[in-house]
């Protein structure tokens, strides 16, 4: 199968590699870039676990081909904290509010909320619930996640 050269900025670093046309962005990030914090939950584009941020938008990395992300800016869960390791308010809030149990959906939840709150941090609970309605969590019942998002949104609004 034909291979293509791709190059993208992932978490501020240049990542390049050769991929088959059919390689999706999630597999590229996990296998070629070694960023296994992005998890593949369904590969049908429904569960949201694999969400990453591409050029500012939350994107399901199982539905985007690696070749489509050529020359894009990609942020994964590994790039959410500050460069010095300081946790992002969303990460802090997830821990404070017991917003994760098994941790498998967590990366997708945080990246989805990051993109959503970056547009506008002043959000109601209903809006937050809608924003993550494409992210499935089997453990928490969502309550802790919603509380965490509210707490982080308040902090981000003050920035």
């Amino acid at each position: 199968m034909q291979e293509h050269e791709v190059q993208m900025h992932v978490n501020g670093k240049v990542v390049s590699g050769k991929v088959e046309s059919r390689t999706h962005l999630g597999d590229f990030l996990r296998q070629s870039a070694g960023l296994t914090g992005t998890h593949l939950g369904c590969e049908h584009g429904v569960c949201g676990a694999c969400t990453v941020i591409v050029d500012g938008d939350a994107v399901r990395s199982c539905l985007m081909l690696a070749v489509q992300a050529d020359n894009c800016e990609v942020t994964t869960i590994e790039g959410i904290a500050e460069a010095d390791g300081t946790l992002h308010p969303l990460q802090e809030a997830f821990r404070n509010n017991h917003a994760l149990q098994c941790g498998f959906c967590t990366a997708g939840m945080i990246t989805s909320l990051h993109a959503f709150l970056s547009e506008n941090p002043n959000r109601s609970e209903t809006e937050i619930r809608e924003a993550i309605s494409g992210n499935i969590c089997r453990c928490t019942g969502y309550q802790g996640i919603v509380s965490a998002a509210m707490e982080a949104a308040e902090k981000l609004a003050k920035r």
Partner: protein
């Protein structure tokens, strides 16, 4: 120090690496030279098969091996999956061949395994394998399958009944002849699948030079996997190390032993390179155990006062194609009857029936949610028949505080009498009514109905047998830096066990939580273990961690007394050191004590010490099974035009005895309630008449989403269990068990004006419209 740890909302030690994306799940592990496996799975529900050509698959560049039944190594004890839980009562046990030989019994059954240099190539090669199918009769509907003349799910059986079991106590016939009235109820229960966000995964790494196999598996029960793979491959347990690293949820179906675990072990041994298989989501729908259908037919005898005196009936339980998890699901369905209600005469039988669908095994709560549902539906049906308020009806029938310890008459799987150790069932009912403002809601409901709005309120009360032994050991060791390593056989799939274990140790040894490292889910780190099933881990590891650290503390005090030349009763352990109470400048740190117990330092162990290291192990468990309990209320609004259901609020009062970490317990309860709401409203595994699964992605199979879930209000009472010294009871599944009943009772309550009887769940909008319409038509 001296900070209380037990009972505090301690933040989880698990979270830091997970929120940074530094978790390590099976699929995240890359080993040098690793190959990838994919499976060719049956596309038919029941057929004779013949593999006619594998040459094209074998010849595809990058393919290392194609395994079929015929090419499996002859050294295996059996090419058929060994029974995980054999029992004499099983009449006809059928387990799958590791790879199907002549007959397939469900869509998704593994026929061939390809190992290749990439997953893409392995999947490409699967498509090149030629298989001829000859269709056989298909058993899909469990009621049809249970009939003597029903279609056979396996051509070599004489019928589809795997086993018949029963629960029986009291004098049922006499009670029926003495009761005032009777009711007959029939309903179908459908519980969905696992749907952990991480699918299953197995990575095998055979080291030829060492003769050792390391098997990473996203399992709830690494020791079970070790035992079964050891037996299947006929290699000693000591040569197999099973590691469950970070596991992305379990919920029951990951507690079994699966053919893929044996096959990956075989492949890595044959190829002498690491081999990884990661289940994809479609495979999860067609090859991972689910729970699915039960048909319940009950007759209830009761007095005019509302007192229920007798229940008899039959359950038809869909086992799916195989019995690879024994009768645990069937047994846990009958065992909890009659729940928290004082019903003295009961006889319920259950048939476990094969069908050509995915095999079943427990999903969160196992059969307990089914039993709880049955009882709460019975209570509501009789209440309605007698025009007694459902809350009053519960109060009449609940076990009262003076009845504890209460023996309902049923038996545990181990043959012992079921004993409810403690609780306050009527107190919890009163409390949850208060929280939900139950009495005022009835007024609100009346007014709403007058305005064409259909509000409903539903109750459920339940008990849960938890903390099953015989053990889940913990070893506590202080190392020469003064840090503590706790190792345990208890595996974790996100529950927060490490945090709880660390809390218990920190409290006993009076050290900081961040000085404790918990190692679990690795058979190389601890010799014995069972697994995270049946709400048992907190109780078992809580007791063992407490006991082991208490032994370590005694050892530390004894040694310090020798080294400081002081009486033990003048010493205390605080903040990482043994100190002289009267003079805090005189102390010896735990690190130094650990060093003194390293024989290489002192040359010999101090007098009176017969074991090396500042460490101790405990396998302490509860004397008998502590029973958690609870009362739930759901409030809903049903739109009779669209059939839509809005959950307005959900209230929980739960009693899991002494709480170790309220934050973690609430997380378990809330998540569990939402799982139950999913069962009640959304989750449905659909098969067509030919046994084709119709719902194999999350567009077709619906899971609860954040946008539909209500605020879940949780309160606790703590009645310490007398069954163990810490008063602990389990909490992992108590959210799910009552939730389906509370939801369905609420929906039915909303439809009271239509005299609707809900005979099945999940309750879909279509079903609501049917209920509303058929009743309207009947009235006209």
């Amino acid at each position: 120090m001296g900070v209380r740890q037990i009972g505090a909302r301690v933040q989880r030690v698990e979270d830091e690496h997970l929120i940074r994306g530094d978790g390590k799940y099976v699929d995240d592990i890359q080993l040098p030279g690793m190959a990838y496996a994919a499976f060719l799975r049956s596309s038919m529900a029941h057929a004779k098969i013949k593999i006619t050509d594998i040459s094209a698959a074998k010849g595809l560049p990058g393919v290392y091996a194609v395994l079929t039944y015929d090419t499996l190594p002859s050294s295996l004890v059996s090419k058929t999956q060994l029974e995980t839980y054999p029992a004499p009562i099983i009449k006809q046990s059928v387990c799958p061949d590791l790879l199907a030989s002549e007959e397939v019994a469900h869509v998704g059954q593994a026929i061939a395994m390809v190992v290749a240099s990439s997953r893409h190539i392995a999947e490409d090669a699967c498509e090149l394998i030629q298989v001829d199918y000859t269709a056989l009769s298909v058993a899909v509907d469990v009621v049809e399958a249970a009939k003597p003349e029903g279609p056979l799910a396996h051509s070599h059986l004489k019928d589809n009944i795997a086993a018949s079991i029963e629960t029986k106590f009291g004098d049922v016939e006499a009670a029926f002849s003495e009761c005032d009235d009777t009711l007959k109820l029939k309903f179908k229960q459908h519980r969905g699948g696992c749907h952990a966000m991480e699918c299953r995964g197995v990575l095998g790494d055979w080291q030829q030079q060492l003769g050792e196999l390391t098997l990473y598996s996203s399992t709830q029960c690494p020791y079970l996997v070790r035992r079964m793979v050891s037996r299947q491959l006929d290699c000693p347990e000591s040569s197999i190390r099973v590691i469950a690293p970070d596991v992305g949820g379990g919920f029951g179906p990951k507690a079994g032993y699966y053919p893929e675990e044996a096959l990956i072990a075989i492949a890595t041994k044959e190829l002498r390179r690491p081999v990884k298989w990661t289940e994809d989501r479609r495979e999860h729908f067609t090859a991972t155990n689910q729970q699915r259908d039960q048909i319940w037919e009950l007759e209830v005898g009761f007095k005019k006062t509302g007192e229920i005196t007798a229940i008899k009936g039959h359950v038809t339980h869909d086992s799916g194609a195989f019995l690879n998890y024994g009768l645990l699901l069937s047994a846990t369905t009958l065992m909890p009857l009659p729940g928290p209600y004082k019903i003295k005469n009961l006889h319920v039988t259950l048939n476990t029936v094969y069908t050509n669908t995915v095999s079943t095994s427990p999903v969160r709560g196992a059969g307990r949610p089914n039993a709880a549902y049955a009882m709460d539906r019975v209570i509501d049906a009789v209440a309605r028949h007698l025009s007694i308020d459902p809350a009053d009806m519960r109060h009449i029938n609940l076990v009262k505080n003076e009845d504890f310890p209460y023996q309902p008459g049923s038996k545990h799987r181990n043959g012992s009498m079921m004993t409810y150790d403690s609780g306050d069932y009527t107190g919890m009912l009163a409390m949850v009514k208060e929280m939900a403002d139950y009495d005022n809601f009835r007024q609100e409901q009346k007014q709403a109905r007058a305005n064409g709005k259909y509000l409903g309120i539903g109750l459920a009360c339940f008990i849960e047998d938890t903390g099953m032994g015989p053990y889940e050991g913990v070893n506590v060791r202080v190392d020469v830096t003064g840090n503590v390593i706790a190792s345990t056989g208890a595996a974790s799939q996100g529950q927060g066990h490490a945090t709880v274990i660390a809390q218990v140790i920190a409290e006993e040894l009076d050290i900081e939580i961040n000085k404790i490292r918990v190692e679990s889910g690795d058979t190389g780190k601890f010799p014995h273990g069972i697994g995270a099933i049946g709400s048992r881990t907190g109780v078992n590891v809580g007791l063992s961690a407490n006991d082991a650290s208490s032994q370590v503390k005694k050892k530390a005090l004894k040694l310090a007394s020798i080294l400081l030349d002081k009486n033990e009763d003048t010493l205390e352990l605080s903040d990482g050191a043994v100190r002289v109470r009267s003079d805090s400048n005189q102390f010896i740190t735990l690190a130094d004590l650990a060093l003194q117990l390293s024989p290489a330092v002192a040359g010999k162990l101090p007098d009176g010490f017969d074991s090396a290291g500042l460490e101790a192990v405990s396998y302490l468990s509860s004397d008998y099974m502590p029973h958690s309990s609870g009362a739930n209320i759901a409030k809903v609004e049903v739109d009779i035009v669209t059939g839509g259901i809005k959950i307005l609020d959900y209230y929980v009062v739960h009693d899991c005895g002494r709480i170790l970490n309220p934050m973690i317990v609430d997380g378990q309860i809330i998540g569990g309630v939402v799982h139950g709401i999913g069962n009640a409203m959304f989750e449905q595994m659909v098969y067509d008449d030919a046994g084709n699964p119709m719902t194999t992605n999350y567009g077709d199979y619906l899971l609860p989403l954040a946008s539909e879930m209500p605020e879940i209000h949780v309160a606790h009472i703590e009645t310490p269990s007398p069954a163990n010294p810490m008063g602990l009871k389990g909490a992992g599944e108590g959210g799910t068990i009552p939730a389906i009943g509370a939801m369905i009772n609420a929906i039915e309550d909303a439809l009271t004006p239509f005299d609707a009887y809900i005979a099945q769940y999940p309750v879909t909008p279509e079903y609501i419209l049917e209920l509303v319409d058929s009743e309207k038509i009947a009235a006209e």
